[in-house]
Symmetry: C2
Subunit: 355 residues, 2 copies
Amino acid sequence: MARVERAQRGGHSGVSIEDVAAAAGVSTATVSRAVRGLPRVSPATREKILGIAESLGYVASSSASGLATGRTKTIGVLAPFVSRWFFSKAIEGADRELHARQYNLSLFNLGGHGSHRERLFSKTMVYKQIDALLVLCMALTHEEIEHLQKIDIPLVVVGGHVEECPYIGIDDYAAAATAVRHLIGLGHTDIALLHGDDETDLNFDVPRVRIQAFQDVMREARLPVRPEWDEWGDFTVRSGQEAFRRLWARSGPKPTAIFCASDEMAMGVIFEANKAGVQVPEQLSVIGIDDHDFAEAMGLTTVGQQPDEQAELATKMLLDELDGIAGAVQSTVAPHRLIVRRTTAPSHRRPEPSA
Amino acid sequence: MARVERAQRGGHSGVSIEDVAAAAGVSTATVSRAVRGLPRVSPATREKILGIAESLGYVASSSASGLATGRTKTIGVLAPFVSRWFFSKAIEGADRELHARQYNLSLFNLGGHGSHRERLFSKTMVYKQIDALLVLCMALTHEEIEHLQKIDIPLVVVGGHVEECPYIGIDDYAAAATAVRHLIGLGHTDIALLHGDDETDLNFDVPRVRIQAFQDVMREARLPVRPEWDEWGDFTVRSGQEAFRRLWARSGPKPTAIFCASDEMAMGVIFEANKAGVQVPEQLSVIGIDDHDFAEAMGLTTVGQQPDEQAELATKMLLDELDGIAGAVQSTVAPHRLIVRRTTAPSHRRPEPSA
DNA sequence: TTGAAAGCGCTAACAA
DNA sequence: TTGTTAGCGCTTTCAA
């Protein structure tokens, strides 16, 4: 009778491994092996147990198995934002791999929570709740890195470098250089730069590297880098709009092309240029970096990258490492590629052959 | 000496409540009370314990406390996508509230994982790992609803109705009607509809309701609803582009305005119209629904909603319910508002007064 | 105000 | 192949 009662509650919240064991007339150890697909269970008992577990709606308590094994089967994803292209794509990519391997994804969004310094993650959360950590494109303080190393869980950062941490991302220098060379190859000599903000600690050295590449390539081509054409933004559309406005509000000659450190900023520039009656690409060529979801629709020329694949790979490494494959986590350079569309065109100004 | 050894490991992975208790010379029960801020601990001992816990880098194991209390302190967020505007915004909103109340967010992304039917969430995951569930704008099967009700954890769906489930979202009918009336008020009589797909089970009745509103308002104004101007998309930019192309490729007269069931589709229409040389809004007025992040930059007229606030409120209700406030979860209609920008204008065609 | 002790549900040796 | 038996680290009566 007791069994019947239990069976009637089938599917309810409180079905434990003991209920299944009792109903199957075996020990909890056997049930544990059976449901986890471990060896040392006869086909017959396994089948019986699985059937009963199913009908009872048994699901193992993650807290209990987590406590027993020391593994939570979830990995943490640390992101400064979730609603920006790079991050949302990366999250999707990480999720693909996690999902395929039966892991859970715990999201830690650091954006917009007052002071960034309330970086919780060393304290309240993350820690002891996850088996590994995926850091999306954000800087970590020395303190934080140190802390993470102490609790030594596998860690990899995607989309930027953090000293001493394995990372996966494109070669930002090469990608930026490619973009600038494309512009130069089109005959542009008056090229403006819209770089990402260097100030915030969220996007660490990526902006810096892209700026460096711009300057190097310009110098290499013996082209002037004019400080009044050096604008900055925070990778958002709005900041691209503002940058364009500032650029065009200033007196003096205007550039014929602009290299933007992200597609969202490039789009902002284009929207604002449209509004101001500046023709793209006739009067102004615009190139970005990313290959944002909207880039194709807008015809935006860009240097594309795939954050989802980057994060998927990173996640795979993390999980492999957890599976005991030592050295599975390795810094890797992800591919980028120039995608020429309709926002870049030959310069309308006197083509002045370099050198 | 043993204490010294422990202290030296301070910050390491394995610091348990027992380590803290030993170091403080009290029982684990007292440590437990102290670190959780419970009463029945003298100020002196509390302070001492907290100091030691801090210096040892103690963090409670979530598995252990989860097992002991039956609460995981994490809520699940079920989303069909993460990189689309509505969803990423909603996730951010949910996170705000969770973060503020020290809960974790476990993300379950159902998109792109082969067959949608592998809806895992009744089985593998979600269940027993979360204290409550936030469903973002997706349909649930009867089976799934039933299952969720059985394991009865608090549940609320944001952005659409699921029978018998509390939901939070805008009044889709009213929002769509507002958009269409705006067009009609501008003198348009030849209005096309770009509705969301009805087929997929992901976006359930939202598309249907918006279609209905369109038809009702048109009928009310005695305006023709032409089947050849009825297009559909899946809420993405690309589908908006395709819809525009189909619409313009068909022979016969063209509409002077189009109501799109989402901003992303509206943007697709605009991008494609630009490419085809169709002036917006001179030749074609376009209105969407959402107030996407890019809408302002593009000057898109739309009926705005705020998924982040919707999700934040929903999360608050869930957490309140978990806090023992019975009836905290209640269906609520979220606000929408017409935002007139630059993609809608009076009809260029002979204004033909209705009635 | 504090402590002792019994679990929470599962896993993992080790025996049988 | 299966069962027994300790825990895993924390919470929570109940006593003291």
